[in-house]
Amino acid sequence: MSVGSIVLVVLVLAVVGYVLGRRRALSTSAATGTRLHSLPGYYGQTVALFVAVPALLVLAAWLFAQPILIENRVRGMIPDSVIPEGGARSLVMADVRNIAGGLDAVLRRDALNEDALVNGNLDFSNVRVRLADVGVALGSDVPREVFDAAVTYRQSAKYGSIGMTVVVLAIALALGAWSLMRIKPKLRARNVSENFIQALLIASSTIAILTTVGIIFSLVFETANFFRMYPASEFFFSTVWNPQFRGGSDLGIIPLLWGTLYVSFVALLVAVPIGLMIAIYLADYAGSRLRSFAKPAIEILAGIPTIVYGLFALITVGPFLRDWIAQPMGLGNSSSSVLTAGLVMGVMIIPFVSSLSDDIINAVPQAMRDGSFALGATQSETIKKVILPAALPGIVGAILLAASRAIGETMIVVLGAGAAARLDLNPFEAMTTITVKIVSQLTGDTEFASPETLVAFALGLTLFVFTLALNVLALYIVRKYREQYE
C-alpha cells in the first residue's frame, strides 16, 4: 500500500473509532445507568487520537528508517570491483534505486510476474535500454551485481512496505480496540484527550527551541573555522571592514554593527510613529469603512517585494535626498545613504507596527475608554495615558517584530545605503549592514574555505547573540511597565 493510502486508511479508522467510541460511551452509560464523565464526543476523540497519532508517528519513523536500513543491507552486496574509479558507492546506489524503481514498469509492460525476477530468470541483457523504454534513464550500463542488488533492494523495499502497512495498521487497530474497550462511563475521556492535545501544544512550542538549536549548530562550526583563520579580537574590535579578494582582508564587525543599528534606527524612527498613529487612528478614530479598507491596504506594504523598495530608494529617494538636502547643506553627495535606506525600509515595516498594534488597541476593553472619557479626558489623552499603556506588551512585540524585519533586510540596504562599510555619524553617507554582508560574502566568488566567506557565519552568530541581548532588554522593559487590565 502506498504511504498516502495508509495515511488515508488510518484516518478513516480514526473516524470510525470516533463514531464507535462515542456510541459505546452512550450505550454503556445507558446500560449501567451511570452518567458519563465527559461529553460522548470526547470518548470518540480518545479513540480517534489513539488510532491516529501513534500509528502516524510509527509510520513517520518507519519511513525515515526503512531506506537507511535497506540501503545499508544492499550496500554490502555491491562489491568494490563494480564501483567505477572516482565514483562512490553512494552513486552506485543511485543506479540501484533507479533500476529498482524501473523494474515495476518493466514487469508490467512485459507482463512478467515476480517469480521471474526473484528466481533470477529475468533477462538481464539490455537492462538500460529496456528501462529507458519505460522512461527510466540510467547514466550507463550496469553490471550484473548492481542489477542483483537492485532486485534485492526492490524486494526488501516491498517487504518493508508490506511490513510497514501491517505494523502501522496493527498499531492503529490494536490501540483503537484497546481504547474502545477501555471506555466506561467513569473514564475521564475529556482529560485524556486534553492531555493528548496539551502534549501536542508542548511539542509545537519546542519547535522554536529546535529551530534555535538548529541555527546555532549550523553556524557554530564554520564560525569556529573562521576564528581559526582570523583573530577574534580583530573581528570584534577592529573598525575596518575591507575584505580583499586575494586574502589579507580586514574584517572588523564594528562598522557593520554600526550600520545595522543606524539603518534600523532610522527605519524605526519612520515606522514606529507612523505605524502607531495609523493603528491608533484606525482603532479609535476611523469609521469602519475606512478601517476595513485601509488596514488590509497598508498590509500590502509588507508584501511588496523588497526589490521594488530598493529600486525606489536607488532611483527616487536617494537622488532626491542628495540633490535637495545633502548637497545644499554640504553634508555629502552620495546618492546612497543611511537615510535613504532607513526611510524606505521604514515604509516597508509600517504594517508590522500598525496592524498588530491595531488589533491590540482594539482589544482594550471599552470600559477603560469610558472611564477616561467620563473624567473629561480628550480622546487623545485617553489613548496616550490609558489605552497605550494597557496595550504596551503587544505594541512592544509589534515594534520588535518590525525591528527584526529591519535588521534582516538586505535588498533595500544594498540599493539604498550601498555596500560600503563605514563608521560615520552623517546619515547622508553610504553605509551597510551585517545582513547585507552575510549575503554578499556567502554568495561571492571567493573560495569557501577562506575567512572572506566564513566570516558570514561569524557575522550571523554575532548578530544572533546581539539581538538576543536586545530582546532580553525588551522583555525586561515590558515586564516593568506592563499594565494588566481587570
Partner: protein, 444 residues
C-alpha cells in the same frame, strides 16, 4: 450665586479656558497626525503600486507573428522515411531556416518594400519559434511537406517597440535591432501578420533564457510559490497558534518560559538568509531532501514565519480580558475548553493579522531560497502534489530577482509583471483571512 456660576461656566463651556483650548489643539493635532499617518501609508502604497503597474502591466500584452510556414522535408527529413528517431536528430538550429524562408516568401508575396535581407528580417521572430516548430513536427510527422499556420512570438525588441520601450531613435543606437527592422515590423503589422493581444502565456509559461524575454513566464514560479505557501500555511499556522497557546496559557512562569519567549522574539530577528543556512544543513544535508524543491523551501519559510505568527498570537491572547476566562472556568469549562471556545475566537483578529503579515513576508522572500537551490533557472513544471513538492521549482520572488538581474531591458517589464502576479497572489491568499478577521473583530 448659582446664577453667577451658571453665567461664568456657560461661557466656559462654549469656548473653554486657555488650557482647554490647548488640550483641544493637541487633540486636533493628534487626530490630524493619525489621519496623516494613514494617508502617508496609503500614499506610499499607491505610489509603489503605480510604479509597479505602470512598468509591469504591459507584460500582460504580447506581440505575436502569425504566419504560414512550409515544413520543408528537404530540411526536416533528409532520409525521407519519417522515422521519429531520425526526425529528432534535427535540432532547433535546423528549424531556424524554415522561418527565415517562409518569412522571406511572405514578404515577397505581399510585395513589401523593405529592403531587409532574410536573416535580419527573421530576427523579428522570437528565438523560441524553432522550438515550437520542432515540437509540432515531432508530434505530427505527417505534416512534413505541408504549409502550416503558426502563431509565433515576436522578438522582445519588436514587442518593446509596440509597448513604447523601443523607439526609432533608440534603435539607432541599439545593436540588437535596427530602424529598418522596425519599419518592416510596421509593414507586417499593417498586413495583419503582427498582432498584439493579451498574453496568457505570461501566466503559464516557464522561465526562458536571457535571449528570449518575450517567452518568459511565471507558470513554474506560481506553482512553486503556491506549493510553498501551502506548506507554510499548513505548518506555521497550527504550530504557531499551538505554541502560543501553550506559552501564554499553560506554561508555568519561570526562567525557562522566559527563555523561550526571548528566544522566539529573537528568531524573528534572525536574517532570512540564516534560515537558508539552516535549511541547507538540516533539510538537505541531514534529512536528505532534494535541492531546489518546494518542500524544503516551504519548511524553511515555515520556520521563518513561525515567530511572526507566535508573537502576534501571543499578543492577541494576552489582550483578552481575564474575566472571560474566569467566566468560562466558573461554569465548569476546562482550561482547554475556555481557551478554545472563548479566548482563541476573541484573539482571532490578532492571529489572522500575524498570518497575513507572516505569509506576506514568506511569499516575498528570496534570500533563504538562495541557499537551498531555489533561486534557479527552472523550466519544467513540478508535478501535482504531493510528489510535486519534491520536484525542482522556482518561486515568484525568485523570478523577480532573476529577471531584474538580466541584461535585456525587456526583463524589467517582466519583473514588474511578476510583481503584479505576486501581489495578486498575496491578495487572493489573504482575502479569506481579511474577511474572517473583520467578522471576528469586536469590542467588549
Amino acid at each position: 450665586m448659582t446664577d453667577a456660576i451658571a453665567a461664568t461656566q456657560g461661557k466656559a463651556a462654549l469656548s473653554g479656558d486657555a488650557r482647554t483650548r490647548r488640550r483641544h489643539a493637541a487633540e486636533r493635532r493628534f487626530r490630524m497626525m493619525g489621519l496623516l499617518a494613514v494617508a502617508l501609508g496609503v500614499l506610499a502604497l499607491v505610489g509603489l503600486l503605480f510604479s509597479i503597474l505602470s512598468s509591469g502591466l504591459s507584460s500582460f500584452r504580447q506581440t505575436y507573428v502569425t504566419m504560414d510556414i512550409y515544413l520543408d522535408p528537404g530540411i526536416l527529413d533528409k532520409a525521407g522515411n519519417r522515422n521519429p528517431e531520425d526526425l529528432a536528430k534535427v535540432t532547433t538550429f535546423g528549424y531556424a531556416p524554415l522561418i527565415k524562408n517562409s518569412l522571406a516568401k511572405a514578404m515577397n508575396d505581399k510585395g513589401f518594400n523593405s529592403q531587409l535581407e532574410a536573416g535580419p528580417a527573421a530576427e523579428l521572430v522570437s528565438a523560441e519559434a524553432p522550438a515550437i516548430l520542432r515540437r509540432y513536427v515531432l508530434n505530427n510527422p505527417d505534416q512534413i511537406g505541408e504549409t502550416v499556420e503558426f502563431n509565433l512570438l515576436a522578438s522582445g525588441r519588436i514587442d518593446g517597440y509596440y509597448k513604447g520601450r523601443v523607439t526609432m531613435a533608440s534603435a539607432e543606437l541599439d545593436r540588437n535591432i535596427s530602424p529598418e527592422q522596425l519599419q518592416l515590423a510596421d509593414e507586417l503589422k499593417e498586413a495583419g501578420i503582427l498582432t498584439t493581444r493579451f498574453n496568457w502565456d505570461f501566466l503559464t509559461a516557464p522561465d526562458a533564457s536571457d535571449t528570449r524575454p518575450e517567452a518568459a513566464g511565471v507558470g513554474v514560479a506560481i506553482l512553486g510559490s503556491a506549493y510553498m505557501m501551502l506548506i507554510v500555511l499548513a505548518l506555521s499556522l497550527p504550530i504557531g497558534v499551538a505554541a502560543s497557546i501553550y506559552l501564554e496559557e499553560f506554561a508555568p512562569q519561570n526562567w525557562f518560559t522566559d527563555l523561550i519567549e526571548v528566544n522566539i522574539a529573537n528568531l524573528a530577528a534572525v536574517p532570512s538568509i540564516v534560515f537558508g543556512i539552516l535549511g541547507l544543513a538540516a533539510f538537505i544535508n541531514f534529512a536528505g531532501l532534494p535541492q531546489s524543491a518546494p518542500i524544503v523551501g516551504g519548511l524553511v519559510l515555515a520556520l521563518m514565519t513561525l515567530p511572526t505568527i507566535i508573537i502576534a498570537t501571543r499578543a492577541a491572547l494576552k489582550a483578552v480580558p481575564p474575566s472571560i476566562r474566569s467566566a468560562a472556568l466558573g461554569v465548569g469549562a476546562s482550561k482547554m475548553q475556555a481557551i478554545f471556545h472563548h479566548v482563541v475566537p476573541l484573539a482571532m483578529p490578532g492571529i489572522l493579522t500575524g498570518t497575513i503579515i507572516g505569509l506576506a513576508q514568506a511569499l516575498g522572500e528570496t534570500a533563504p531560497l538562495l541557499l537551498i537551490g531555489m533561486v534557479a533557472f527552472v523550466r519544467d513544471y513540478p508535478a501535482a502534489p504531493p510528489e510535486g513538492f519534491f520536484d525542482p521549482a522556482s518561486a515568484l520572488p525568485v523570478q523577480v530577482y532573476n529577471w531584474t538581474q538580466r541584461g535585456d531591458p525587456a526583463f524589467v517589464e517582466r519583473a514588474s509583471g511578476a510583481i503584479i502576479v505576486l501581489l495578486v497572489f498575496l491578495l487572493l491568499m489573504n482575502l479569506i483571512a481579511i474577511i474572517l478577521r473583520r467578522r471576528f473583530e469586536r469590542r467588549w
